[in-house]
Symmetry: C2
Subunit: 370 residues, 2 copies
């Protein structure tokens, strides 16, 4: 059921245009995937997410494993039915959250034991358990169980971690048994090029239907991310989709696409929205600022989203200043619309062989110095 | 512009069917008015509120006076434009919140000085200021500035308070100058029938286009409210709408309509929704309860709202258990839909001369002992 078609590679960069086919629909790439951590894209109904033009969402194995737990998801008939999202879903492996959220982690070859960040209870995740959970969730794209190593970290730590992630990837592949769910491998190796090369080659040899680049955008400078990413994607097959995990600011998305990335996800647009930070064509706007008190223009004057078609900065500011949930909703709608449409524009620019030109124009308007 | 037509009075009770015309549209009565305290019905967009079938909303003078303040509302072109609700709006006078929310109140004949519950700053409201604010808000129905006296209270307190409220009503009328905004008087008098009679007669003599019954549903037993309400409505003219303030549970709405009330409002359905308490045809359902963990039925099996058409109790429970805003939204949508459609059914039952029969059936299903 899973298929990737490479429709075009840009002349001016490694940017690519493609199409992914899944049991729940097609996805045009490059794509930004909104995150629905706990079976909901925060503040949004699934129908609103679809209306915004989202073609795939991401959901989190770790969070759903803890709450509501797999019993309930199984009885609901899988995650799509539980949350009423009928489009494609990508689930992560749980690895990232185990390493970033939980307490008292202990990593062994077998897997990771940890304490739940919710109630402190002892839990265990392994490649096999992650596969079982993702089988129950029924996502269209599953991720291999990996360690997302911290930055900075020593060569020795990253080498050990990456080699174990590769062994875990093989165990995931061996345990994976649902042909309606595509399993992606995750390239690790930190900021060390030789380790990235080994990781990529080993995973490619296992022949996954898609590859993620993990362990980037973890605190390193943008330039370093660009360098490692540029280096890594050269080892990935042309005919498989490439997914950069945890990236959602406009500049990171542009730089990723330029280096041959097809998919990205991040909580950033929805999280900053709930803080009142708005992404606009002219850069970020902090709507709570007094400057917008009597500003009756839309959040972004060039935007056609529901929020911008209907409401003023002054009104959205009032909602934030009075802790009204509608404020969180209107900002979330706008930021997701902004990124989803940015990716549409990026695809269009690749199609028309003017990706780098579009990037330069965007950066100038947005106020990026690059 | 403001008009009330009495279309029918029931044979089995004092229940009435009517139509109110306002500059922003018509309202079928009896009607329940959702509350949008701070220029938003909590968690909802104005378009969603309209889609639920709401024909009028209520907004609060006190809250809007403090935040965002009248400067901003005036520059926005009024409350309708500020919040993008194009239907009728009723604004209260600010009196109730001054007496229930603020600190250091001091009542004089001139008005009430108080400290803002937000920042402790000293504020002053009077009949004239309340009118000025409501003129700026541009509501279709304005309320006279009154004191909503506490329960219980002595005869002397209520007599003083009611007489002052009546004098304030005259000052409101004298200061009111926008013919596109109808000004309602508010009958007070606590639980003392003779005071209610005096209040009603004095206000009716001033010839307002509508009358509210205030100072009920303030803690007294339901039976006492019924008795006082029944007594009071007999002194109100047949050809003017009657509004019972602060009532929003199904039984109170039925009992109010039975006694000749045409309009009611309350934060109850939206407030309990945000606590996870769901109004259903079979009584209240506390969706956080463990009983609904694996219950994949809709909140109310007979309901056709967006929430019930799409989501299960298990999913809504999961959203509440993980503090997801979508849970608050789905519960709010359902409860408002429930009350709005209950009022539709009540109107239908009056039209078909079976109001009391419908009430009995509803009470039996809902589990009310009456």
């Amino acid at each position: 059921m899973f298929k990737f078609e490479l429709l075009k590679t840009a002349k001016d960069s490694k940017a690519r245009l493609g199409k992914i086919t899944t049991p729940h629909g097609d996805i045009e790439t490059p794509i930004f995937m909104p995150v629905g951590t706990r079976a909901t894209v925060k503040t949004m109904t699934p129908h609103e997410v679809k209306d915004l033009g989202a073609q795939i969402i991401l959901s989190n194995t770790y969070h759903l494993f803890l709450k509501p737990g797999m019993d309930i998801i199984e009885k609901a008939g899988g995650l799509h039915k539980f949350m009423q999202w009928d489009g494609p879903i990508l689930t992560d492996s749980g690895g990232f959250q185990v390493f970033s959220l939980s307490d008292s982690r202990k990593i062994t070859e077998e897997g990771v034991s940890f304490r739940s960040h919710i109630d402190g209870s002892l839990k265990f995740l392994s490649p096999e358990i992650s596969m079982d959970i993702q089988h129950t969730l029924g996502s269209d794209i599953m991720m291999a169980f990996d360690e997302c190593a911290p930055y900075p970290a020593t060569y020795e730590y990253i080498e050990d971690s990456m080699m174990r992630t590769t062994r875990w990837a093989q165990r995931c592949k061996d345990h994976h048994h649902n042909e309606n769910q595509a399993l992606f491998g995750i390239v690790q190796g930190g900021m060390y090029k030789d380790l990235r090369e080994i990781s990529a080659k080993d995973l490619v040899a296992m022949d996954f239907p898609g590859y993620a680049v993990g362990g980037l955008s973890v605190g390193e400078p943008l330039e370093l991310m660009e360098e490692i990413l540029d280096f890594t994607t050269d080892f990935l097959p042309e005919d498989k989709p490439r997914y950069l995990m945890g990236v959602g600011s406009p500049d990171y998305l542009f730089e990723a696409v330029e280096r041959g990335i097809d998919m990205a996800d991040c909580v950033l647009p929805t999280r900053i929205a709930r803080n009142g930070t708005i992404m606009t064509s002219k850069g970020k706007l902090v709507v709570k600022n007094a400057a917008y008190k009597e500003d009756f223009r839309p959040l972004d004057e060039t935007c056609g989203c529901y929020t911008c078609r209907n409401f003023s900065r002054a009104y959205v500011r009032h909602l934030f200043n009075t802790d009204e949930i509608l404020g969180l909703r209107l900002a979330t709608i706008h930021n997701l619309h902004f990124l989803i449409h940015l990716m549409e524009d990026i695809r269009e620019s690749i199609r028309e062989d003017r990706f780098l030109e579009f990037k330069d124009d965007f950066y100038r308007e947005y106020g990026y110095n690059k």
